[in-house]
């Protein structure tokens, strides 16, 4: 069994990070930057691909068209990007990316359903616990959201390294992680657990202020005294343990420190979002549940608030796992809640049509419009995020969107195949003027290998977020995609 080459901490030195920016290895104290310069990054990932014929815009780089529903062939019925028509000037459509690192990790056999450890990491996989179908690979390096988030949180003493969100709890096994903190430690993926319950997230972000001042302060001190003891014990344990075991304890210790940091940070003077959905235990336990749309919306609202209140600078959202067998589009109409067939397997979706099944059958006349509507619905959520960011004023009069990069990715190219090339990703926001938005970039590919590795986008985002790198992930996939800057 091969072991990871780098420890979690030594890892950063291999990412092409400039020597001045090795946060976990140095003991530089954090310094504050004025909020007007704050950059934010949000990453969203969705599986199962798209119908390329109607998903991609048409036109030229600077003059491109997103059709209306009424303008696409009737057999397709929906224009998936329609919700972005009025946001064209804020986006860059990048058509033709490839998870080259994923393809090279499994000799071409890697399906899109095992793509998550490769998506935001840009590195070939390392041996790890099984993620899917006997594929035993995991991320070799942190995903960019965690890499950027941790660095900025340390620099600016932020409450959270990043928000990792998912509308459902991880199903089972190891295949539901988008964000990674490094290579696996022994048997465990080194991936932060997603936050699910919006009410819990709300409490984590803003909580404590409902208690009386004295009461809250006492609770804080009690918790800190416990975490202090626990942290000291973990450090004491570390000294004699073997290498892998030390990594495990180190991860635990880091988490304890993160929780202490949350205790120290209060969200004062901050506009808290109203949560529209009713608290319900079902949405934490029911597969195929009918709350997903509300959960996603609530999580977007919480994300925007957390960014606006500078509790964190980074968020990631996975909707919802590598295949979405559990996602039934209850809210899109009767056609979506008919009984499913082939992928109504394992009974995860009340036996109903689900995203995975629809994607696999999207070549059939009945399912094609459903696929497009599903893709359109995801884009509606993305558009909602962009709009919220655009409506939220930042400290210096600009908008949150002006200072953000919101990346919408897909794991696969098309629904039926599991290819991870020719991927259509979208970037919204100029990230403080770094990116030149309002453009349609395309490298349509006939075959794998023609596409541009996603590493170029990952590196560009790191640079835009003021955590400079010369490449991200494996160096042989190239550095920043300078085309994104205009």
């Amino acid at each position: 069994m091969s072991r990871s080459r780098f420890s979690r901490r030594a890892l950063l030195s291999s990412l092409g990070v400039g020597a001045a920016f090795l946060p976990l290895l140095s003991s530089r104290p954090g310094f504050s930057q004025p909020l007007s310069a704050a950059k934010r990054f949000i990453a969203i990932a969705v599986p199962n691909g798209v119908k390329e014929e109607v998903y991609w815009p048409t036109g030229t780089v600077n003059d491109f068209t997103i059709p209306l529903d009424s303008e696409v062939p009737t057999a397709h019925r929906y224009s998936p990007l329609q919700p972005l028509r009025n946001l064209k000037s804020d986006i860059i459509f990048m058509g033709g990316l490839e998870l080259r690192n994923g393809r090279d990790s499994n000799g071409g056999g890697l399906g899109g359903h095992a793509a998550l450890p490769f998506l935001l990491t840009g590195a070939r996989g390392v041996a790890g616990p099984e993620i899917s179908d006997g594929i035993r690979l995991s991320a070799a390096v942190p995903s960019i959201d965690r890499f950027i988030g941790k660095e900025l949180a340390k620099r600016h003493s932020l409450k959270f390294d990043s928000l990792v969100l998912n509308p459902v709890k991880r199903f089972r096994g190891n295949d539901g992680y988008l964000s990674f903190d490094g290579p696996p430690v022994g048997d465990s993926p080194d991936a932060p657990q997603p936050r699910v319950d919006p009410y819990q997230v709300f409490d984590d972000l803003f909580g404590g202020e409902n208690l009386g001042q004295g009461e809250f302060e006492l609770l804080r001190k009690k918790r800190k005294s416990v975490l202090d003891l626990v942290g000291r014990q973990l450090q004491g344990w570390s000294a004699n343990l073997g290498k892998d075991d030390r990594e495990r304890v180190s991860a635990h210790l880091e988490s304890v420190r993160a929780l202490e940091r949350q205790l120290d940070n209060l969200a004062t003077g901050c506009v808290k979002p109203a949560l529209a959905l009713e608290r319900d235990a079902d949405y934490l336990t029911d597969n195929g549940n009918a709350f997903i749309d509300q959960l996603i919306k609530a999580q977007i609202d919480l994300t925007v608030a957390a960014l606006a209140c500078d509790l964190t600078r980074v968020a990631s959202m996975l909707w919802m796992d590598q295949g979405n067998g559990r996602l039934v589009f209850h809210w899109l109409g009767d056609e979506f809640t008919k009984p499913g067939t082939d992928f109504a397997n394992q009974g995860e979706n009340r036996g109903l049509r689900n995203h995975h099944e629809i994607a696999h059958k999207d070549g059939q006349a009945e399912y094609q419009p459903l696929m497009n509507r599903g893709c359109q619905w995801f884009i509606e959520q993305y558009a909602y995020l962009i709009t919220r960011l655009k409506e939220t004023k930042d400290v210096d009069g600009t908008t949150l969107l002006d200072n953000s990069a919101a990346l919408f990715t897909n794991l696969q190219r098309t629904g039926g195949g599991h290819h991870t090339d020719n991927l259509p990703w979208i970037l919204a926001g100029s990230c403080g003027g770094y990116f030149s938005t309002g453009r349609f970039l395309a490298w349509p590919s006939g075959k794998p290998g023609d596409s541009v590795p996603q590493n170029g986008v990952l590196a560009a985002i790191c640079n835009a977020m003021d955590v400079p790198v010369d490449h991200y992930g494996d160096a042989d996939y190239g550095g920043e995609l300078s085309l994104l800057r205009g």
Binding site: S2, R3, S4, R5, F6, A10, A19, N106, G108, G109, G112, R124, G125, A127, P129, E130, G134, R136, A140, K169, R170, G173, G186, D187, P189, P192, Q193, P194, K221, K222, S225, V226, L229, V230, Q233, W237, L241, G242, D244, D245, R248, V249, A251, H252, S255, Q262, N287, G288, P339, G340, T341, A344, N345, G347, R350, G351, G417, D470, A475, D476
Partner: protein, 592 residues
């Protein structure tokens, strides 16, 4: 623009990357090959050679070679064939209590069955094939805090501690808590340093600085104990460095052995009697360990492990699953619970009643609720408690329990491939290469075709055939059972054909004409017996077996065989193997 060392490092990465553009795995598929243990192992080792080579900068291999490299080498054991050093023992990687263990430990400590483990993120699927705790992320640590606070708040302190911290003898009670409650939580006596730490927390910080009442301070003390590594980790050594013996392995302390025993057999912490056995030196020799192992197995608490092991072993996880409401209107969550309970009861009865491997695959005892009895078609037949014996031979053994059959089906019908895969991978410990991407779906259900017929294309096409030949013919033996495990004699208007073949790990096939034939073949299969031995090691140690375990596997297996393959004897024997009572030092571990 960037410093020199970064570029050099980048160049270094570049060079090592191009060692092997095609993975071994890809090559095998291209050649239409792909089954057998070697391919599976090669995918991990050979498929990513870049990650094996030392770059000299902090890689996994120690600078000086470990005296006995076998803990890192894959196992080569087959029955009658153990190579390597008989004194070796495997690694004991540090791991947290998994969710089940955490919940059971707390239930035992507090006498309170409230489900706090549901606050925690789920376990990860370990390479052992059994769930293991993942790394402690910030969400995990916060959940641990919440769980600890909930339990501490609800605790009845005088009952929990056997003294009242708010009473007159506060200082004495504190000592009792550290000697009693904390010690039980830690599964060992606290060290002097640990006692001091907790004492300081309680006295100086909580009672002193924060001016909490004795009651409040005691509750915070509980919270601290429950969030500390001594409780959370399977490491009953604490932060001291262990002794190596002359052969280079570390002998586990009595308390470590006690914990290994209780987590193996009860999926929970030791009881007071077991801790006492540890403290009075009774666990220092195999005979003493055996006595305790038998006592633990005889206890009703062993049911927890029977449940935990068997549901995971056969990949039965029915919570939240659904079946077609049209075809199976009576399937609901309570039926799923009854199915899992039946597997628990069946195996518990087997292990504590002297059952043997043959009974595992052929016993016809049923453990049913009224709804399950209806499913099995046995309602109205005489019961002995909840045990029902069937007259005919339609349900031989554990693999014909509705729980297994339901878990290996989709929402509509049984899945012979899934059934065959679980039997091959989990019951025989065979391997299978992962399926390729872009598999076309099977033809949809049709009234005139049987499930077997619709799966025909698996055996007709390459590269499908190579793997499916090993799985589907096993699964066909279960053709009588639908998606919830109900029995049907007819399918598509014809008598069900449940013939097939069982291929062993050497590639030798045994044909069978019906389900009973399959179960007989499994009962007689040496692969299955050896596999059971391996699976209990994987479950007990939360890791795969290595070369250093080979002699331990052999020893346990021979004792198992000598007893006529009595299942409880396997566990008792396992508890006295070298790998159970000793461990190899971890890479870079500091030892005396």
């Amino acid at each position: 623009m960037f410093p020199g060392p970064v570029r050099e490092l980048a160049a270094l990465i570049q060079v090592t990357r191009f060692r092997a553009p095609l993975s071994y795995h890809h090559l095998l598929f291209a050649l239409g090959l792909g089954h057998g243990a070697s391919a599976c192992t090669a995918t991990i080792g050979g498929g990513s050679p870049d990650f094996e080579a030392g770059s000299g900068s902090g890689n996994g291999q120690p600078a000086d070679a470990v005296a006995d490299p076998t803990p890192a080498t894959p196992s080569a054991w087959t029955p009658g064939n153990a190579t390597g050093d008989p004194n070796a023992a495997g690694y004991m990687p540090l791991r947290q209590l998994n969710r089940t263990e955490y919940q059971n430990a707390l239930s035992d400590l507090f006498g309170d069955a409230r489900n706090v483990a549901q606050l925690l993120p789920g376990d990860v699927a370990g390479t052992s094939g059994f769930a293991t705790a993942g790394l402690a992320s910030d969400v995990t640590v916060q959940a641990l805090q919440q769980a600890a606070e909930q339990l501490a708040k609800a605790a009845n302190l005088p009952a929990l501690f056997a003294c009242d911290p708010a009473g007159a003898a506060e200082a004495a009670c504190l000592q009792t808590v550290l000697d009693g409650f904390a010690s039980r939580a830690y599964r060992r006596p606290l060290s002097a340093a640990e006692r001091t730490e907790f004492y300081e927390l309680y006295t100086t910080k909580l009672r002193g600085e924060l001016a909490l009442s004795a009651d409040a301070a005691a509750r915070v003390l509980i919270e601290a104990i429950l969030q500390s590594p001594g409780f959370l980790y399977h490491w009953e050594l604490g932060p001291i460095s262990p002794d190596r013996d002359a052969t280079g392995v570390i002998k586990l302390s009595a308390y470590e052995v006690a914990s290994r025993l209780s987590f193996l057999l009860w999926s929970s912490i030791p009881d007071l009697e077991l801790l006492q056995a540890a403290s009075t030196g009774q666990l220092g020799n195999p005979e003493g360990v055996q006595i305790q192992a038998r006592r633990l197995l005889a206890s009703p608490k062993a049911r927890e492990t029977m449940r935990n092991f068997h549901l995971q072993w056969l990949e039965v996880a029915l919570a939240g699953t659904n079946k077609s409401a049209e075809k199976y209107p009576n399937y609901d969550a309570s039926l799923a619970v009854a199915m899992e309970d039946e597997i628990t009861a069946f195996t518990d009865d087997l292990f504590r009643g002297g059952g043997k491997v043959k009974d595992l695959f052929q016993s016809q005892k049923l453990f049913v609720t009224p709804a399950l009895a209806r499913l099995y078609g046995v309602e109205g037949m005489p019961f002995e408690g909840s045990v029902q014996r069937m007259g005919d031979a339609t349900r031989p053994g554990l693999l014909t329990r509705a729980g297994f059959l339901s878990a290996t089906s989709n929402a509509y019908e049984g899945d012979p491939t899934k059934r065959g895969v679980v039997v091959r991978k989990r019951v025989l410990c065979g391997s299978l290469t992962p399926p390729p991407a872009n598999i076309p779906p099977l033809p949809p259900p049709e009234p005139s075709l049987t499930v077997r017929e619709r799966h025909a294309m698996h055996m007709a096409l390459e590269p499908c055939k190579t793997c499916h030949e090993l799985t589907d013919p096993i699964g066909f033996g279960f053709s009588n059972f639908d998606a919830i495990g109900a029995y049907h004699a007819q399918e598509a208007g014809r008598p069900v054909d449940a013939s097939g073949k069982l291929t062993d790990l050497d590639g030798k096939s045994t044909d069978f004409a019906d389900l009973n034939g399959l179960m007989t073949a499994l009962s007689d299969s040496q692969d299955a017996r050896a596999c059971l031995t391996r699976q209990w090691l994987r479950f007990g140690f939360a890791r795969e077996e290595s070369r250093a375990d080979d002699h331990s596997l052999e020893g346990a297996y021979q004792a198992f065989a000598a007893s006529g393959y009595e299942l409880s004897e396997l566990l008792v024997a396992f508890a006295t193997t070298r790998s159970f009572l000793y461990r190899a030092p971890a890479v870079d571990e500091v030892t005396q």
